[in-house]
Symmetry: C2
């Protein structure tokens, strides 16, 4: 019903729009193609549409007055962007490479929500999943060290693959290192260094810079929880420490 079937991502709300976006909400939708680094919208823009990513990948981010940037999420094909009720977008959405989005007029979207309870309930559900993802992000940024943060990032993408029936140990990273860094509250250099340490530790294998193979999932899981045991491949530097961070 409604063409809003299930959820896909835990990061961006994902309500697959059926085969080709033929849901009732999509009746009057327009398309938009974006080139690399082009913004779909920026912080403060009037919220006119809710977007559905048909192809490509976007980064969602907020900035501070001094220019520092926090990536708050990535939107992949099949994800929705722009749930929210304020008059303006509270963050920026920018295409990473080339991408294609469908624009659903906010008005009809919300009218449907008020007419059809199940529809509104689905919006509630979807937002709830995004909220859980945002809480996980806070946990990662605030409490995980660089290794744990990168590990949990990779595992997140792995679980995402799994949910979509894709091989969960081979991961493609559409985004540059700096995006991963600004997502995890680190710098590009630190992310790069962490990748190589995971690599020499035998936990991952990197090919073509945007392709990663997870070769030791149990170790990655332990790392992500901050339980960097002595047994497995990865050891932080030299000598054990009390409480790393």
């Amino acid at each position: 019903m409604l063409g809003l079937a299930g959820m896909g991502s835990e990061n961006q709300a994902a309500i697959p729009c059926g085969n080709g976006c033929e849901s009732s909400a999509c009746t009057h939708c327009t398309q938009r193609a974006l080139v690399a680094k082009q913004h779909l919208f920026t912080h403060g823009d009037e919220q006119r549409y809710i977007y559905y990513v048909h192809a490509g990948c976007l980064r969602l981010y907020k900035t501070l007055g001094n220019g520092r940037r926090q990536v708050i999420g990535f939107s992949f094909a099949g994800d929705f962007i722009g749930f929210g009720i304020g008059p303006e977008f509270p963050y920026n959405a920018q295409s990473i490479g080339r991408s294609e989005v469908r624009c659903l007029p906010r008005g009809t979207f919300h009218r449907l929500a008020l007419e059809i309870p199940r529809f509104a309930f689905r919006l509630y559900e979807a937002t709830t999943l995004e909220l859980a993802a945002a809480h996980d992000l806070a946990l990662t940024i605030g409490q995980r060290n660089s290794a744990a943060a990168v590990a949990s990032f990779l595992l997140w993408l792995s679980r995402r693959n799994e949910r979509r029936g894709v091989e969960p140990t081979t991961i493609s990273l559409p985004m540059p290192r700096t995006d991963i860094a600004d997502y995890l509250g680190l710098t590009g250099e630190t992310v790069s260094r962490t990748f190589t340490r995971l690599k020499v530790g035998g936990l991952i294998r990197v090919t073509r810079k945007r392709l990663v193979q997870l070769t030791d999932l149990p170790a990655l899981l332990e790392l992500a929880e901050g339980m960097a045991g002595e047994h497995a491949g990865y050891r932080h530097s030299d000598g054990p420490r009390r409480t790393p961070h």
Copy 2:
């Protein structure tokens, strides 16, 4: 209508329950009194109720395998706790001091949502506000240094006061320093040091440890945005630096 009037907090969804919780959702609600440090629920508990904080203050937090804790929010009187659709709570809710909550059976809550579109839409709105707060938290933890983080925390409480018609320059902190620390991704010691630096800088005045007066809002706003100008009271240590953090 419905007894669900407006929003109160940007942190926890706040739909004031009217005067005394006489909304239709509250028809069969039960009460629960909590003492200091008592948990309302913990991570993994079955989600049976949605809670309404009638008095007191709770901390919501998640933990890592190694024991590190991330506070993801504070729930004050008038806030709701426990929106979400999964079978289990994805975080812990613990009373800070003494508090009192009303328990709304999740089933009737969701049944109402499916029967009454406006109700479901309100849930969607409320969750959306929580999501924005979670994104702000990620920005704070990931990109603000300790001074900026504490400043934005105080300003958040100030705005909260303002919205409730309370004096926005006098702030009470029901939570201990360690909670603020785990909320901002810092340690209690760092929070304490930051408070005293703000104090000697003349930006705040601290009385009785849980009461703060904001004596220089413009400077706090600049600090929170990372634009620690040379003019105002607060200067980080000695000598200017390129990009602090």
